[in-house]
Amino acid sequence: MKKRKNKLDEMQEQKMLHIESRGCWIAFIGLMAVIAAQLVYYGRDCGNQIIGETIVFLCMGCYIVFECVRNGVWDRKFEPNLKVNICASLIAAVAAGVLKFLIVYRERGTDDVSLNAGIAAGSVSGINTFILCFVLLSIMLVAYRWRKNRLENGLPDEQEDK
């Protein structure tokens, strides 16, 4: 099939990329909110209902993470280090903990036993999420450093100099 010529000039192309980028993040945050809302509202029984959203959400997340690492970029504002990874994992852990608490609390009712069960489930979920996020971020950090090092040192001019 014949490839159509780009009708946009460079400024319009940049604006289009900005718009698409914002659209991507709106979809990403929207999907996350929809999944969280359904989990809280329907509880554990909503597995089949959120499978589509979860697959799209995971595909988007995986694509962004792997493409960033492949191109040797980490983040615009945050340094790639252990401290940032711990902070990010803590944020994810708190979010997962609160979500789990709300799911359990809503399922069981509003008495003291449910409250305690919710706190316990939320804590366990938070700890698990923290460990999982931290391990994944650490792996990504190692992969990023390896890839960046390779991209920085594997440039054609450097090879010619040798």
Binding site: D9, E10, M11, Q12
Partner: protein
């Protein structure tokens, strides 16, 4: 970013409108206007095209003095 007066002057010398220059370079008028207003920083490729059409050097059109 400061307004790009040299492009405006060079365009006036050649008696070209923004639209005519934009068409000669192969961009939209809104992009040409944004460059002149200092709202868009063009790529070196586009700078060279503008210079070629206006018969000026990169220094003459895009160099900004420190002060």
């Amino acid at each position: 970013m400061a307004r790009n007066i040299p492009i405006k002057v060079a365009r006036a010398e050649k008696d070209m409108t923004q639209k005519a220059l934009a068409e000669a370079v192969g961009i939209s008028r809104q992009t040409m206007n944004a460059i002149e207003q200092g709202e868009y920083n063009p790529t070196i490729k586009l700078c060279r095209s503008i210079c070629r059409v206006l018969g000026k050097s990169l220094d003459e059109l895009f160099w900004e003095d420190e002060e």
